[in-house]
């Protein structure tokens, strides 16, 4: 059946590894039917500042971006931190051709964040009660999690204790 033959296929891989002792290298590779590109960032720990960056297209249908390296170097010093996406986008530009590379820089940064998130989540107990307690405590410690997704939405079990405490204090979460 010809509708089993794909019209378009995409693979995006992001990987994060430790290098030079404590720094992190994050690589994002995109290979799809039309585009082949790679971005590499190095992040200096513990401040999480981007200290090196490179990127290139092997295939791209819109032609070469002549100042690509210059645009990438503009994010040196930017920290992988809350609010980084608007900074990266603002520094790298808004033309359509650059947006894939911008997205890949963001993916590299997200990879770093998820690598560090993984370390935190590894501490969660394996039993269901322990897991529940772990994540319930997490949202109490980090109020940013509250109502940020379905798992921590208002009125759900994981936020019950938080909401109860805030109700006793007479204030909204």
């Amino acid at each position: 059946m010809s509708n089993n033959i794909l019209k378009f296929a995409m693979n995006r891989n992001t990987s994060v590894e430790k290098i030079n002792g404590s720094n992190l290298r994050s690589v994002c590779r995109l290979r799809d039917t039309l585009t082949d590109a790679e971005v590499v960032i190095e992040v200096k720990m513990p401040d999480m500042a981007i200290c090196a960056i490179s990127g290139h297209f092997r295939h791209a249908y819109f032609g070469e971006i002549e100042d690509l390296d210059q645009r990438l170097q503009a994010v040196i010093g930017v920290r992988v931190a809350a609010g980084m996406l608007k900074i990266i986008k603002g520094l790298m530009g808004e033309e359509e051709e650059i947006q894939q590379i911008v997205y890949m820089v963001e993916e590299c940064c997200h990879g770093v964040i998820l690598a560090l998130t993984r370390k935190v989540l590894l501490k969660a107990p394996d039993d269901e009660a322990g897991k529940f307690s772990f994540y319930s405590n997490m949202v109490q410690k980090s109020i940013r999690l509250y109502d940020r997704c379905a798992a921590f939405a208002k009125g759900t079990p994981l936020v019950a204790e938080l909401e109860s405490e805030k109700a006793k204090e007479g204030c909204d979460v």
């Binding site: 992001t14 819109f62 032609g63 998820l114 998130t117 989540l121 921590f152 759900t156």
Partner: protein, 415 residues
């Protein structure tokens, strides 16, 4: 050895002449999930959104599946990402949103391919690149966004000062500058003697309390309550004043003077500006900065007019971990480039954790920089959670600037 790896795979097949079928997989060291949906080729409207978890973390993650249908009817054109983040990302799960965005990208690329194949019927030698460059829907080079702007930018909200509508009180740059606004005001200091109920102490030396960081709608797109609502709430809870620190937005002196008179309450102008080092609260500076500005350049411009800049929430962390989890100590944090240029540090911010605020305080003390407090409220519920207590009564922006430079204040827990 890799600490983390994420793979995303998206396939797009043509189910029939009108319909694409999309299948996406996100599989990483923490999560594994899938998405399936159909897209109408003519209008990019998606339907039949179904998702599946294979690996997740919290016991409540499976709830996310119930909210994937929020994407029904989405048009997957360019620019849809923000909508996906705000709907699927917030109500369902950010990882499903991430995968959905990849699927949307794959759909748009597929549409380009289909268009090219259609065009090849008449022009068999047409390459894809030629098709894209010739097609009016192909990528068109846009002028680079100016990273910093010296030009006056029209306000997103129009209206004359004194208008009662929410839009009326906000105006962009170009209006009378700050000093004029203060000189024009002959009113005595505004205290808590207001018609609305106040809960806290009377103002006075050492106890003149101002929320130095809050956002209003529509000046800040991320805020949900109007400037009027925020002022009334500030009055209700007994604050002596507020600073309007909307994102990259300059309030006119006339508009703020009108607000003070209308509400009989101290309202001060400020700004929260994005730099490559992070967000900076700026006081006594009326230039309208859009986009990103280098902190060094901002400092130069603010200093030239006698303003004052404060590092806003400098250690704001992530959803599941903060600075302490990555081993950032006050000593290493003090070495950050930004602290060479700021005049003060926000050490009580209502949107960060106690640990993050403590790190800010340790850094400020270590560097001998003064500390401020502010709620960073985006709606009335958190106005005044933190604030700044000034030793002297503040009656306008000149007095505020003088007090900031003199260091006669400290951050306080208020609400």
């Amino acid at each position: 050895m890799f600490d983390f790896m994420r793979n995303k795979v998206v396939d797009v097949a043509r189910l029939d002449p009108e319909t694409l079928e999309v299948h996406g997989i996100l599989d990483d060291s923490i999560y594994s999930l899938e998405l399936d949906f159909k897209v109408n080729i003519s209008d990019l409207i998606c339907s039949g959104v179904k998702g599946r978890w294979l690996r997740w973390t919290t016991p409540e993650c499976p709830r996310a599946i119930d909210f994937l249908n929020e994407a029904e009817g989405f048009c997957l054109e360019a620019g849809i990402d923000n909508k996906i983040h705000k709907t699927i990302g917030r109500r369902s799960c950010r990882h499903f949103a991430n995968l959905f965005i990849e699927c949307a990208y794959a759909v748009r690329e597929t549409i380009k391919l289909l268009g090219w194949q259609e065009a090849q019927r008449e022009h068999p030698d047409l390459t894809f690149k030629q098709f894209i460059l010739n097609d009016e829907k192909g990528p068109v080079a846009q002028p680079s966004v100016v990273v910093e702007s010296h030009k006056e930018v029209p306000s997103p909200v129009s209206g004359a000062a004194g208008d009662t509508g929410a839009a009326g009180a906000a105006r962009g740059a170009g209006d009378t500058r700050g000093a004029g606004g203060d000189a024009a005001s002959a009113k005595p200091p505004v205290g808590v003697e207001s018609p609305t109920t106040s809960r806290k102490s009377h103002p006075g030396p050492g106890n003149f309390i101002i929320d130095m960081h809050l956002h209003t709608s529509p000046a800040s797109p991320c805020a949900s309550d109007s400037v009027y609502a925020m002022i009334e709430e500030a009055k209700r809870i007994g604050l002596q004043g507020i600073c309007l620190t909307d994102h990259n937005y300059v309030w006119s002196a006339d508009a703020v003077l009108a607000l003070r008179e209308k509400h009989d309450f101290l309202v001060l102008r400020a700004n929260e500006i994005i730099t490559e080092q992070g967000d900076i609260l700026v006081f006594g500076f009326d230039e309208d900065i859009q986009g990103i500005i280098k902190l060094v350049e901002l400092k130069k411009r603010v200093a030239a007019v006698g303003g004052f800049i404060v590092a806003a929430h400098p250690f704001r962390g992530f959803l599941t971990f903060g600075a302490d989890d990555v081993g950032l100590t006050p000593e290493s944090a003090m070495a950050r480039e930004m602290f060479k240029w700021v005049d003060g540090v926000e050490t009580l911010n209502g949107k960060v954790t106690e640990t993050e605020n403590k790190l800010s305080l340790d850094v400020a003390k270590g560097l001998g920089l003064p500390s401020t407090g502010g709620s960073d409220a985006h709606d009335i519920s958190t106005v005044g959670v933190y604030a700044t207590a000034f030793d002297e009564i503040i009656d306008g922006e000149k007095a505020l600037l003088a007090a900031l430079k003199a260091g006669k204040y400290h951050p306080v827990v208020f609400r």
